[in-house]
């Protein structure tokens, strides 16, 4: 028997009656988002999905995807947007604030403590070398995400998408132009190209 399957109660004994979805309270929202946030090293999204869709069943997978797509297309930290939109859906503004506070509050305390430690001990040689090693690996993880996100573009042979991608990379990464200027030029162009190519595909 594979070790990860417990002998008893393997499929969670879900209540078979699809009763009206349970409405989380403010404290419940705060605690749920605090938990997924503290579990999330290198990204909270996986844990958010697990908690919201699989554990609490507050949303179906489709609802979660739709909500996440919205939060991904808006600027800013996606998961932060998700917490606010999700909390507000159940409990209005207070719910949005509760979920946001849960997501950002506890990790922020940890980050502040780490920052204080770094301010005091950051000059120590061994600590500096250790962090440099972590940074090397962390950059690798970032490149892996970039590669994974590029695969659909490559598979679709989406040449315009790849050209836009490369142009942004050169402008920001190599020339180091300010983000605002690059995006104010790139976003309208990219939207126009997307609309044009969709029309051409339809025609």
């Amino acid at each position: 028997m594979p070790p990860e399957s417990p002998p008893v109660a393997a499929p969670a004994p879900a209540p078979s009656t699809p009763s009206p979805p349970h409405q989380p309270g403010l404290l419940e929202l705060f605690l749920a988002f605090a938990k997924m946030s503290l579990a999330g090293f290198g990204g909270v999204l996986v844990w958010a999905r697990r908690s919201i869709v699989e554990h609490h069943r507050w949303m179906t997978a489709e609802e979660f995807n739709e909500t996440f797509a919205l939060c991904h297309f808006l600027p800013g930290p996606n998961i932060v947007n998700l917490s606010v939109v999700f909390g507000a859906r159940f409990r209005g503004v207070a719910g949005g604030l509760a979920a946001f506070a849960g997501l950002v509050g506890p990790p922020m305390v940890i980050a502040t403590v780490l920052a204080a430690l770094y301010a005091r001990y950051g000059d120590i040689d061994v600590l500096g070398r250790t962090l440099a090693g972590v940074a090397c690996a962390a950059v690798g993880l970032l490149f892996a995400v970039v590669l994974k996100m590029m695969m659909p573009l490559l598979q679709r042979r989406d040449v315009t998408g790849l050209v836009i991608l490369a142009a942004v990379f050169v402008a920001i990464g190599l020339i180091r132009w300010p983000l605002q200027i690059v995006l104010l030029v790139a976003i309208p162009h990219s939207i126009a190209i997307t609309i044009l190519t969709r029309r051409m595909v339809k025609a």
Partner: protein
């Protein structure tokens, strides 16, 4: 290094504005964070920026907490709070209002189009983020090798990324890099 009149106001303005342009999440804004914190305001050195990036990746919670660390180094606890609220607040408000608007007008096709248009932009931004942090952290060929191995492992396997961060830290601790 130049003492600014009000560092909290500078943090609020810098990150408040940045949050509205962080297309594709916090990691897409890293080039702009580096530009603002290292080149424009001289809040951090190149090395400190790489360290702060490493600490933020090691800590639990959303990646956006890198701004908490930058804020702390500028103005202590108040700075940490100001930077975090400035980076999260404006877009959270925007998300709240847009989601309410979309709930009332179902089936809008604009989100799909805009999202499709933004995907290549945010990938390009994240690639630039990788390059900028790599230029400050990958100072030896072994460091470059570690980055490549971590990228390959994370791309091809389902190993928990935390193990790779810890392995990188151990190699750094041992003085290999």
């Amino acid at each position: 290094m130049s003492p600014e009149p009000n560092p909290i106001a500078a943090l609020l303005w810098t990150f408040g504005l940045m949050s509205l342009f962080a297309v594709g999440g916090a990691n897409s804004a890293i080039p702009e964070m580096h530009r603002a914190a290292v080149d424009v305001h001289h809040w951090l050195t190149d090395k400190q920026f790489a360290d702060v990036f490493a600490i933020s990746q090691l800590s639990p919670g959303p990646n956006v907490l890198i701004v908490t660390l930058i804020g702390y180094s500028v103005a202590g606890v108040a700075g940490a709070l100001a930077a975090t609220v400035a980076m999260c607040g404006p877009t959270a408000l925007l998300a709240y209002y847009v989601s309410r608007f979309l709930d009332r007008s179902r089936g809008a096709r604009w989100p799909a189009i805009i999202q499709a248009a933004l995907v290549p932009l945010s990938i390009g931004l994240m690639a630039a983020s990788g390059l900028i942090v790599a230029q400050t952290s990958d100072q030896s060929w072994i460091a470059v090798l570690i980055t490549i191995v971590a990228a390959a492992l994370a791309f091809a396997t389902r190993i928990n990324p935390l193990w790779m961060l810890l392995a990188g830290g151990l190699l750094g601790f041992a003085g290999v890099i």
